[in-house]
Every structure is written in C-alpha cells, then in structure tokens.
Symmetry: C2
Subunit: 322 residues, 2 copies
C-alpha cells in the first residue's frame, strides 16, 4: 500500500494549506488545531481512489475529498461533545481545550466550509455532488441519533444495530467513493456499484472495530482492550452474545453486565464469549459484508488493474489489527 502513503501526504498537505481566516480566532483556531490531529484520512483517500478508478486525476477530485474530510471532522467535533470525550487521538478535544460553545460553533462552520469547498465544481457536477452529500449527511446524523437512542434501550435487534452503523459510519465511505466517481463522470451503474462497495466495506470495518475491542493484541492496539465491555456498550459482540446464549449463559451475561471490576470483567467476557462462540459468529457477519463489497467491485466496468488499489485497500481495512 505504498500509494496510500502518498495519498495521505497529499491530503495532509491540502488540509494544512487550506486557508481558514484568522479572525474570529476562537472560531478558526480550534479548526486548525483539530484538523492537524491527523487520523487515517481514509475518507478523502477513498474519494481520490473513486476518481482514479475512472481515470480522473486527483487534482480534480481533491476538493470533493477535502469536503468529505471536513464533514467527517465536523461530525467528530460534535460527537465528542455528545460523548463528553476528553480526548481525540490522544489529544484534548475542542470542547475540552476551549469550551463547549466554541466546539458547537466551530463544528457548524466546518460543515458550512465543507459545502463551500464543493462549490469549486461546475454547476452540474456541483448539484450531483450536493445531492449525494446531503443525503449522506442526514443519514450520518440519523445514525448518531440511533446510537444515542440505543444506549437507553433495553433491547436492540442485530438488524437495527447493523442499520445504525450503516448510517453512522458506512454511508460516508460509500459517499466518499461515489463523489470521486461523480467528478470522474462515471456512469450510473458504476456509481451505484462503487457506493455499495464503500458502504459494505464500511459495515465490515465497523464490525472489525467491535471485534478488535475485545480481540485485539493489547501490545499493538494502543488503547484499552475491552473498553466497550467495561462501558456495557451494545456492540455487535454483546448483541450476538445475547442472541446465541443458552439459559445459563444468559444469567452469566447479566452477571457480567453488573460486574464493576474492569480487569475481571474483561477477562470474564473473553471466557464467556469464547464459550458462546461470539467471535467466530461476528467474523462470519463481517466476512459476509466484505464479500458483498468485493462482489460490487467485481462488477465495475473497469479493468482489474484499475480495481486493484480498491481491492488492496479493502483487504488492508479487513486485516487491520489496530
């Protein structure tokens, strides 16, 4: 994935050079700060790849890529407030470093900036980009709301959970890719296929996230293993555990949820989940979405050579261990 590094560098440079005004400082300094925190830049890279598949140069897709990254960061800034998260990528969140009002408002302005960046495209392309972007932005907000709703609900069905992560996380990956394809003027069928590829990879990616919480190598993972378990989060692992349990295991699960000792809780979860067979069951669901994604990629009307970077990216995402 040598190319990925050069794309990441390209995106980092574009973001670093983006010309936010200097004043009001309390509005724009938080954005400069937040956008410098880095991250994988996965979404804007998908937009660049979505263009390249259809022979469109990254110089042409870069504004769409920046818009997607701005949107993603807007949603992180507001999600961090909602989750009362003190840290993002090991550094203070905006509401921690400044205050909550500044985090709300700088998030708002970043969302508008995302729209503004898109207006560099000609009117027809712009309108097509906007339609997809708006639909996706609304879905992401809906996903975030469902996620918050699930916290206080007793029962969440696995289909509901998958739909929540589809909205909250995965549609933006599909959107990122399709925006590249829109700029490249790809045909309707290809646009739908590349969107589906991104969306399904996104679902698989999020399931992998849930799995890693409990099954990552602690030495590589960089964050606390079992964080979701300690917080009693309704992840796919937990929902699947409830679904697959026999009567005794259901009792053990209830006991697990009531356990207040973090270290013991995580180790008991691993034991119980292994007994139930949760890990394997989740791997099967993940693999299913991964195959759906590959299937869409297969059908794209471009050469295998052109598809190769997307295929490696998908594999890279699936095999990640951090």
């Amino acid at each position: 994935m040598e190319d990925l590094k050069s794309f990441t560098y390209f995106i980092e440079k574009e973001i670093a050079e983006f010309n936010f005004p200097n004043s009001p400082e309390n509005l724009y300094e938080p954005l400069r700060y937040f956008l410098k925190l880095g991250g994988k830049r996965m979404r804007p890279i998908l937009t660049l790849l979505g263009g390249l598949v259809f022979d469109c140069d990254i110089e042409k897709t870069k504004d769409a890529a920046i818009a997607v990254e701005f949107f993603h960061n807007f949603s992180l800034i507001h999600d961090d407030i909602m989750d009362e998260a003190p840290l993002r990528r090991g550094t203070s969140t905006i509401h921690e470093k400044w205050n909550q009002n500044i985090a709300i408002l700088s998030g708002d302005v970043l969302l508008v900036k995302a729209y503004q960046v898109l207006s560099s495209y000609d009117a027809d392309t712009f309108k097509k980009l906007m339609e997809l972007f708006n639909k996706t932005a609304i879905e992401v907000c809906e996903g975030q709301q469902l996620d918050m709703d699930f916290e206080t609900r007793n029962e969440v069905k696995i289909e509901e959970y998958i739909e929540m992560i589809r909205l909250k996380t995965s549609v933006l990956l599909g959107c990122a890719l399709e925006m590249g394809a829109i700029v490249a003027n790809a045909n309707q069928n290809d646009k739908e296929l590349i969107y589906d590829f991104g969306m399904n990879i996104g679902i698989a990616f999020q399931i992998q996230d849930d799995i890693l919480d409990l099954y990552a190598d602690p030495e590589k993972f960089g964050k606390q293993v079992g964080g979701d378990i300690i917080a009693n989060k309704k992840t796919l692992l937990m929902l699947k555990a409830f679904e697959m349990s026999n009567e005794q295991q259901l009792k053990d699960l209830d006991e697990l949820l009531a356990n207040k000792n973090p270290i013991e809780k995580v180790s008991k979860a691993q034991q119980l989940f292994n007994e139930i067979g949760v890990h394997q069951a989740c791997e099967i669901i993940k693999e299913n979405y991964y195959q759906k994604a590959l299937n869409s990629l297969e059908q794209l009307s471009v050469s295998d050579e052109k598809k190769a970077p997307l295929k490696s990216l998908a594999l890279f995402i699936m095999q990640r261990d951090v």
Copy 2:
C-alpha cells in the same frame, strides 16, 4: 401591511406541510416542535418579496424561503444552547425539553435540510444560491462568535459592535432578499442593491432592538424592560453611553454596572442615559442605516409600485414598538 399576513400564512403552511421523516423520533420531533413555535417569519417573507420585486412568483421562490427559515431556526437552536436559554417564544427550548445532545444534532440536521431544500432548483440557480448562502452562513457563525467574545472583553468599539450585528443578524436579511432576486434572475446590480437594502435594514432593525430594551412601552413590550441593562450587556446603548460620558458620568456608569438591584438599576440607567443623550444618539445611527437602505431601494431598476412592499416593510420594521 395586509399582504404580509397572507405571506406569513403561506410560509406557515409550507413549513407545516414539510415532510420530515418520523424516525428517529428524537431527531425529527424536536424540529417539528421548534418550527411550530412560529415567529415573524420575516426572513422567508423577504425571500418571497425579493422575488416579487422582479416579477417572480412566490411558488418559485418558496423553496429558497424555506431554506432561509430553516437556516435561521438551526442558528436559533444552537444559539439557545450556547446562551443556556430555557425559553424561546415563551416555550421550552429544545435542549430544555429534550436534552443538549438532541439539540445539537437536530440543529445539525436542520442545517443540512436547508441545503437539501435548495437542491430543487436547476443546477445554475442552485449554484448561485449556494454561493451566497454559504458565505452568509459562515458570516452568521462569525457574528455569533464575536458576540460571545465581546462578553468577556473589557472594551468593544462601536464599529466592532456594528460589524458584529451586521454579521450575526443583518447579512441573513440581505441574503434572504437576494436569494429571491437570484431565483427571479435579476441583474447583478439589482441583486447587490437589494442585498444592501436588506443588510442595512437589518442593522437598523438590530439597533431598534437595542433601543427597545430600555425605551419600549412596558405595556406593549411583552418582555422585561431593561433586560440588557440588568445583564450588563454591551449593547449599542451601553457602548454609546461610555463613548459620550464626561468624567462624572463615567463614574456613574461604573456604579450602574455594579448595581445589583434590578428595578433600581433600570430606572437609574434611564435617568443616566437620558442625561447623556444616549437614546437620541442611537436613533441617529439607526436612521443613518435606514436611509442607506432606502437609498439602495431607490436605485433598484424597477417601478416604484414594485418597490412599495419593500418600502412599507422597512417602515414597519423601523416603527415597531415590540
């Protein structure tokens, strides 16, 4: 202003019929609730008028009008969080009735909906609308940030204050009118003139707001007279009072700021401000912006008959006593 009533009715009906999804309920129910609270609907009416001046039917400008009203409500929802305001139009704010996270997220989704409503226009019109809308949205956020910054600053110059209210309030009135003109395909000069008309009326409107805080008829006003004084807000009245005071009056002003008795504070402010001549000075500034607005209106390349509704609206805004 008989027409105004029919326009208000038209806008109310359009908003009431707007089809928000039912789910997630915690995302859309707050929006249905908030948009029902009413208000003067001044901004969308300006968009309708901005089209009518150039012979464009309200059926064509209504989506732009709705987008402006959605944007305005998005900014109210988020401002209410920032101001910790429990009430809006006498009823609970969203963060009070639901919670803060829901207020952040439903505000976000309303902003996106504003953009989405605009995409009913053809690509060229849409792009023109978006460019103005984005520029304005960013300015409104900047104005809100400046307003928050001023709260903790010791000194604020009158030019800075006017620039703050221009950004926070007035540019959206200019934008609302120009969006109507854009849909009507008005020429560039007319678009700039109608924008300037709206912006300057907006500044005069906001100054009138500051004046009414202390000089409204308590029987008609419907809210506490002197609320800004009690909160030590740096309104134009207060800034002008400091600017015009002699040494003794400056001491009296400092004493006034330290006074913790609300009723006494307001009556002392009225006395002191009258002595300094604050009311008249502010009326002169307001009148200046009103005249600028009329001057732009005068130059519009349409008949006086076409301009008449805008002229009456301007007069109506200036003479309001609530």
